[in-house]
Symmetry: C2
Subunit: 333 residues, 2 copies
């Protein structure tokens, strides 16, 4: 449960674990035994009471979050015992759902890859990576692309997809030497920039002296501003909403936005839930690339629901490599 | 001629007038007797040596600028004596051109409206207004639209076109009571906001409490930031390059850019010279609206080439109502 609203940084003490009986589904509901739960930066906005499209989350309520699990009892006509479902089940080992729109429940049909992938590369994270890059970025072979938070769930997909589509160079920004090495060795980035140790602008000038065609932004702020100054005419800047913890107002502001006008560039936001009709297209393409080995998926797993606060904190501490998950059911694979 | 590079504000002393013999066109060139010259904010960038796509303009060179005139001698196969031509002829009463790409010469074919319109509503200014609003803004009936610098050449067109296309409300921002009254009485704006005397944010909250679908930005800075905070989901923000004097870096920066991500909005720059193939479409539609009286064109004319520096200064002093022109040939109509 939510125990307190964080002031600034999220703390483990903002959460409280309670035991309660497994609920019984009523007519029109089903009961899910949760296998995996995921965390995403947007959860901090919920915790702070700043949800964009939902009522504010209050203390004493079940913390929001997305999971995948198996239907164990169903009184809902469209779901049967044994179905694998993915949705916003909250931080719970067992969850009741009526498949209402805000739960965003989808059945997981693929059986080739572990079900946990439906929280990452074969779920909203992966679909957002694929669809935002394609629909807004419109990548062409030879396009210079820069990705921030490049070893994260979204970043690790975007870098790989950009490489498959022929972008060059594919440059990633991250905050540690470990991540940077990982990105080049495992994710196919042509080069990685450690923004904590290197001058981002100078490195970009070396690595893509003609400028940047596509910037996939997961951080905003000064990083966005530095890349903006180097955007090419008709460049595309993708702001990927769901993956961002960006607050409404950035006190420093971005100063180089004028280049969007001067260079006929485009900066556009992406909300995966406006694109549900495209999920099958994304899933089919990603499954093909994953099955054929062209693309890898990366998970950072912790064990046990009591690790959820720590899992969330890891995002903001920059510790995770790949999609941060918690295995809630020790028998899940 | 350019006499000095302005430091900050443009001064009349940055220019120098000289008399020289009327030149003779060589093979492949023609001589134009200029009727009208126009000024635009982008000229300040040229003066400061910050041209985007051209070599820097140096002192001692003819000041750049667009004009319309009559061909009086031609040794160019595609232009004949008597043709009316529009192009970048510079601040001159007589100009030689080889119709090279950088001169951007076009023949003026219409005879229904004064030739001066080819520097305004039937030239790049008008075409940019129409094409940027349609192509980036994608206006639908009932869309709330806000236009800054709303009584300017571009602004006066955009407001009228938005109204014809059914946008509602059509709101304009300007910097004087005179302009605001003019916009509502003559340009079909539903309301005008005087940013010098009113709180822009509060007025927008009153006039379009549900937010803004389209913002046609001609100023950037704090105005852009204030409108951004009120942009609706899937809203469109048009940065109209050619009409802007915006410098590369805005030291305050825009702080609300995060809404572009959070609300799946789009901010896009427009450069009219990437859209020359659409000029005929724009010209046909605008001529129809102008001829039928649905739309008006507004010019602010000064007399005589020696008024050019003053005409340019008027833009930055906010004095012009409509397209700022200078009639260079006293016999032109």
């Amino acid at each position: 449960l939510v125990a307190a609203r964080p002031e600034g940084k999220v703390r483990e003490s903002d959460f409280l674990f309670v035991d309660s009986p497994i609920p019984e589904p009523r007519q029109g509901e089903f009961l899910v035994k949760v296998m995996f739960l995921s965390v995403a930066p947007v959860l901090r906005r919920h915790l702070m009471g700043k949800s964009e499209n939902l009522p504010p989350l209050n203390t004493g309520e079940v913390m929001r979050g997305r999971g995948v699990g198996r239907v164990i009892v169903s009184h809902h006509p469209e779901f049967a015992q044994g179905d694998i479902v993915q949705g916003k089940f909250g931080w719970q080992e067992y969850a009741i759902s009526a498949a209402s729109p805000e739960d965003m429940v989808h059945k997981v049909l693929q059986r080739k890859l572990p079900f946990s992938t439906s929280l990452g590369v074969l779920g909203p994270t992966g679909f957002a990576s694929y669809l935002a890059l394609n629909d807004i970025g419109q990548p062409r072979p030879g396009d210079a692309i820069v990705v921030s938070r490049a070893s994260s769930g979204v970043g690790s997909n975007v870098g790989q997809i950009a490489r498959i589509l022929g972008c060059s160079p594919v440059l990633g920004i991250a905050g540690s030497r470990r991540k940077c090495r990982f990105m080049v060795e495992n994710l196919g980035y042509d080069a990685a920039i450690n923004y904590r140790q290197e001058d981002l602008g100078r490195r970009l000038d070396e690595l893509c002296p003609d400028g940047v065609d596509i910037y996939f932004d997961n951080v905003g702020g000064q990083t966005l501003d530095t890349v903006l100054a180097r955007i090419k005419p008709r460049g595309r800047i993708i702001l990927c909403e769901r993956m961002s913890d960006r607050d409404r107002e950035d006190p420093r502001g971005i100063r180089n936005y004028g280049v969007i006008g001067n260079r006929q560039a485009r900066m556009e936001g992406f909300n995966i839930y406006q694109h549900e009709s495209d999920f099958h297209r994304a899933e089919a393409q990603l499954t093909e690339w994953l099955s054929s080995g062209k693309m890898r998926y990366l998970e950072d797993r912790l064990e046990g629901i009591e690790m959820m606060p720590k899992a969330l904190l890891r995002l903001f501490q920059g510790k995770n490599l790949g999609k941060q998950l918690v295995r809630v059911d020790p028998e899940a694979e």
